[in-house]
């Protein structure tokens, strides 16, 4: 109509000045607005790096000290007490259990309740006085070579120095007794024997979490939740329907990893395969329940991924997979006890490398069941039956 109207179309068809920057800027402004609205993402931006840094910085210790140790004292003598005191003074050992039979001693090591066992044989002091050089047995759970290695390596020299004063023997070079260190379960200290079983749990944690963490948010984002909620289905039924298919998927995945571990990496399965299968299924279900719980808490799929990440990273760091569990500070160990991977790693190492029986694994099995039930309860109560 007016003159300007007829001129404009020509102008509009031409590329505006700084068009590239204007359009990029428009996109950038939009992204910032969206980022600011997404509170959870915003929190994650701060939480993930801070949490990782604190965990790495404080919790990880590759030369662990104060490792739980059982003592089997078959002789109560001054010398025996001095030897134990000297061992404790090395700071590597912390005596947590005193046992009275070899069976009990073996059981503690096998169940992973202690990492070391020290046995002082009967007639120890007399044999030393006689100059017979009796043997002092130090057995180590070497499934994790890192945890056991440094303690065993320094054992001889440190004890000798510590004892020199106590025993009043002028010339330290001659040890009055022999320390027989016995690295059980993984005598050659091969790290793959330790890593491969741990990987079974780590890989399963990652894949299982992500399978279910997206499940409820996906229904909400695609709009199918409205229809689902208008039909007669209960929260528990939705949960079971969403978890069970992935239990099978997880089982196939676990078989694959264990199979490759055995065939390619030569990791043994000393214990019962059926027991391993049963407890692996429990572990898979626990992780799926936790993932499903996340999906009932978060608002969208991005948040679900972030939450899975928040859970996965501490699982790797605090479960004993990468770094010795016993070497972590107490607060980190408590956190670790709340992670299913911690318990499964103990279970899988115990069954594959130590040939553990169900009785050795009671605590960790119960822990997994408890974690699973807690997750399921939260999920069912969090699941909103209305669109309110």
């Amino acid at each position: 109509m007016s003159a300007t109207d007829t001129v404009h179309p020509v102008d509009e068809a031409r590329e505006p000045a700084f068009g590239f920057w204007r359009r990029s800027y428009a996109m950038l402004v939009k992204e910032f607005i969206q980022l600011r609205r997404d509170r959870v993402s915003f929190a994650m931006i701060v939480m993930i790096p801070v949490m990782q840094l604190l965990l790495f910085g404080y919790a990880i210790n590759t030369t662990p000290r104060h490792l739980p140790t059982a003592v089997l004292i078959q002789e109560d003598s001054d010398l025996a007490r001095s030897v134990l005191k000297a061992l404790e003074n090395t700071k590597y050992f912390r005596f947590t259990r005193e046992v009275h039979s070899v069976a009990e001693f073996d059981d503690l090591l096998q169940s992973g309740k202690v990492l070391f066992g020290v046995e002082i044989p009967r007639g120890f002091e007399r044999a030393v006085r006689r100059g017979d050089r009796p043997a002092l047995l130090v057995a180590a759970d070497a499934t994790d070579p890192v945890a056991a290695g440094s303690a065993l390596g320094t054992l001889g020299a440190v004890v000798q120095t510590a004892l020199a004063h106590d025993l009043h023997i002028g010339d330290p070079p001659a040890m009055p007794f022999e320390i027989r260190a016995h690295a059980r379960y993984n005598p050659a200290a091969e790290s793959r024997l330790n890593i491969v079983p741990g990987l079974v749990g780590t890989i399963l944690t990652m894949t299982m979490l992500i399978f279910t963490a997206l499940s409820v948010t996906r229904e909400i984002e695609r709009g199918t939740m409205e229809s689902l909620l208008s039909m007669p289905i209960k929260p528990v039924e939705v949960m079971f329907g969403k978890i069970i298919p992935y239990v099978i998927v997880g089982f196939v995945q676990a078989s694959l990893i264990v199979g490759i571990g055995v065939l390619l990496f030569g990791v043994p399965i000393l214990g019962s395969v059926a027991l391993l299968a049963a407890l692996t299924t429990l572990f898979i279900t626990t992780n799926l329940s936790i993932g499903y719980t996340f999906s009932t808490i978060v608002q969208n799929q991005l948040q679900a991924m972030q939450m899975s990440m928040m859970f996965f990273l501490p699982s790797i760091l605090l479960s004993g997979f990468m770094f010795p569990f016993a070497g972590m500070p107490v607060w980190a160990q408590y956190l670790g006890e709340g992670l299913p991977l911690t318990h499964y790693i103990r279970i899988v190492r115990a069954i594959m490398l130590k040939g553990a029986a169900p009785s050795n694994l009671q605590y960790d099995t119960i822990a997994l069941i408890v974690l699973m039930l807690v997750a399921m309860t939260i999920a069912v109560t969090r699941f909103r039956r209305t669109l309110d």
Partner: protein, 315 residues
């Protein structure tokens, strides 16, 4: 209670009283009461954001009312949501079946959820009924708008509900598909099903046995189409002739003229006070070849007027 009231209670599919619902401090539905007879088609009309969807969701237990009470098929909408869900088919405004499942798989899923014995057979019969034979294995997400809507209707009628809640089922669907859809709705109602359907289309409102008009969360009018028009007390003149645009601009805002709306080649001039309206239009009545006709307001006139008035009252 007399025998009369018990029989009438059995004839009522939906009866709600004083329903209210707020979201984030904004009241979306205010003190809404309504009754729907069994076997009838009840049209639910109103502008966008008027509270239609919210009301429907409260009826089928997807939302909890802040205040008010009511029954749906004789069950309490607050306490018996589980029972109501078994007997009600709800068709959502946005397609909410699984886009990555095929037509057959979607229907079988619904049939299994309702615990139907022969889920496959039920799905097969429904595919035939909604005319999707030959498309059973097509993914729902790949269907066109009209087919999606048929599938959605099929899914919500599959478990043999007694009440259908349809939330703008024909939005974005072509006229032919809309007509087929309404024929199906009437067929279902003839079988005894009660249908509550929300819509924007006036022609669809006229296909309902009864209608209710809701704006800003308030129920403003209800009854048959004729009753609603009669109750409106709106006077309308239809003008035909040249330069109706000019006339519309001139009349707008004059005393007694509450609404001026073009309808094709004619103009509807309406007012609530007939005598004032007549005084205002008198000078124009014999001018420049315009033909004035004292006519009935259309349903649309009535609704727009109700909406304008409610805007004054509630906003």
């Amino acid at each position: 209670m007399s025998s009369v009231s018990t029989t009438s209670a059995a004839d009522i599919a939906i009866k709600v009283d004083g329903l209210s619902k707020s979201f984030g401090g904004r009241e979306v539905v205010h003190d809404l009461s309504m009754q729907v007879k069994r076997g009838s088609i009840y049209g639910f009309l109103g502008p966008n954001g008027s509270g239609k969807t919210t009301t429907i969701r409260m009826l089928c237990g997807l939302l909890t009312p802040d205040a008010g009470e009511g029954t749906c098929l004789g069950y309490d909408i607050r306490r018996d949501a589980d029972k109501i869900k078994r007997l009600v088919g709800y068709m959502t405004q946005r397609f909410s079946l699984y886009q990555d499942l095929s037509v057959r798989e979607n229907l079988e899923f619904v049939a299994r959820l309702y615990g139907m014995r022969d889920a496959r057979g039920a799905a097969r019969d429904m595919i035939r009924r909604i005319g999707l034979s030959g498309r059973e294995e097509q993914l729902a997400g790949e269907l066109s708008g009209g087919w999606k809507q048929r599938l959605a209707l099929g899914a919500c009628t599959l478990p043999n509900p007694q009440l259908l809640l349809l939330d703008e089922p024909t939005a974005g669907v072509d006229p032919k598909a809309r007509r087929d859809f309404w024929n199906e709705i009437h067929a279902l109602a003839a079988e005894g099903l009660t249908v509550l359907v929300s819509t924007h289309y006036m022609d669809e409102a006229e296909r309902c046995h009864e209608i209710a008009y809701i704006a800003y969360g308030h129920l403003l009018a209800h009854g048959t189409v004729d009753e609603v028009i009669a109750k409106s007390a709106l006077s309308t003149y239809t003008v035909s002739g040249d330069d109706l645009n000019g006339l519309a601009v001139e009349l707008a805002g004059k005393p007694g003229v509450d609404m001026v709306a073009p309808f094709g080649t004619s103009l509807h001039v309406s007012g609530r006070d007939k005598s004032v309206l007549e005084t205002t239009i008198a000078p124009y009545r014999d001018k420049r070849g315009w033909r004035w006709e004292d006519s009935e307001p259309s349903l649309e006139d009535v609704f727009i007027d109700l909406m304008n008035r409610s805007k004054d009252n509630f906003q």
